[in-house]
Symmetry: C2
Subunit: 225 residues, 2 copies
DNA sequence: GTCTGTTTGAAACATACGTTTGAAGGTCTG
DNA sequence: CAGACCTTCAAACGTATGTTTCAAACAGAC
């Protein structure tokens, strides 16, 4: 039992520190001292720091992609034949994320922050790892999005998907800080689930927005259309 | 003239490398060898690596915030009395960014990528520096957003602004990579200006989206609208 | 031309990093 | 009990980082 305990303690500490500070800014010594294990344990159990980063992602991405897969199965079954709507697709995704068994109350926001970091910090090895390990559920999500927005050109859809990813990854990656700010400023308490409930309509409206604007509004002070 | 040349060469090299690789991942030795100056020059002219990062931001953020300020002045004058619309406010911002005199053709995307990094990489010193140096134009933008969306509750507006920031910062922070991917996949060439032209309607539609969704779509396969 | 203050240069500084080593400790099988 | 294996540990390795040092080169003023 002892060896598995060390592995988990390292993963827990690494996950939290990576989410707080990023990958390059987190040293193995920080991780091992937070996890209360020997420095060499990381290289012994994982091989390298990069492999540890991969393991941190794999620990929640693997069960999550399984959950997501069955969620999409159910959704497509319910729609039999008909392609699921944009709202349904987005909800299937966020529900799967929110419903995932969490290690602790910060689980979901750590999860989101790590995903955001994975996209943002230009760590080549991570991008490669995620692409070849989780291309299937990602590709399925993209396919559903495409079928739910047949009115969009490929180029429009491409960019709008990036906008969605950005809004989601960014917001979720700093959800803790944003929730605190909101509470201090307006005295309102919020959960990650509520953020998701606000995010989905925002994203859906953005995806369904009228065409790309080619010219800025007229200078007369009245907006076009 | 020689001293100023060194300073500029350092700033140019630092700007480009920071945008490419992030702050922690860029060493002073990379910067000085790209700039073809002595290693000690950075500490001589700027004092420290952090101060260099601040200088890189100040070099374009100071003229930009001035440009933005007059753009907002003109906008409010055109609207005399009436608060500017959401579209107008967003356009004033993106136009100011795009119209800034660029040092080279990559200027605007480097600018955007750095702004994205500033938000994403949790570099405490940078955040503090930006907040106390550029709080005024930022606050003015927020005020305009508030007046342009009177129908939103404070809480809704707060979250939707975060969603906008996220979509923008995230997309722009990897705009180069995203442009490359799009060209390889669909053979379409894009400019940052075009991305902005697609982003603004997406953001505006999201801000004006119908209310926060409290319940996921019904399981019957029909969305509750 | 010489002097003064500023800028460059090569080298070293101390520190932190990821990784490796080899011995010590522990556990389970035979 | 002995032996084989897995795990931990303290220490060291080599390398890279940001920063400092101090002498040399340079500028413009007198």
């Amino acid at each position: 039992m002892a060896q598995s305990d060390t592995v988990d303690r390292i993963l827990d500490a690494a996950e939290e520190l990576f989410a707080e500070r990023g990958f390059s800014e987190t040293s193995l010594r920080m991780i091992t001292s937070k996890a209360k294990v020997n420095l060499a344990a990381v290289n012994y159990h994982f091989g390298s720091k990069n492999a540890l980063i991969h393991a941190v992602f794999a620990r929640f991405l693997t069960p999550f992609s399984a959950t997501l897969d069955t969620a999409f199965d159910e959704l497509e079954e319910r729609c039999d034949g008909q392609p699921p709507t944009l709202n349904q697709t987005l909800w299937a995704l966020t529900e799967s994320a929110v419903r995932m068994p969490q290690r602790n109350e910060k689980g979901i926001s750590i999860f989101m922050r790590l995903l955001g970091l994975a996209y943002t910090q230009s760590q080549g090895h991570l991008r490669k790892f995620l692409e070849q390990e989780y291309s299937e559920p990602f590709g399925r999500f993209m396919r559903l999005l495409k079928e739910a927005t047949p009115e969009l050109s490929s180029v429009d859809r491409y960019w709008r998907i990036q906008f969605m990813l950005g809004a989601t990854a960014f917001t979720m990656s700093s959800s803790d800080a944003l929730i605190d700010i909101l509470e201090n400023k307006l005295g309102v308490e919020t959960t990650v689930q509520e953020i998701a409930a606000r995010l989905v309509p925002f994203l859906a409206a953005g995806m369904k927005a009228p065409d790309k604007m080619l010219v800025p509004p007229t200078a007369s002070g009245v907006s076009v259309a």
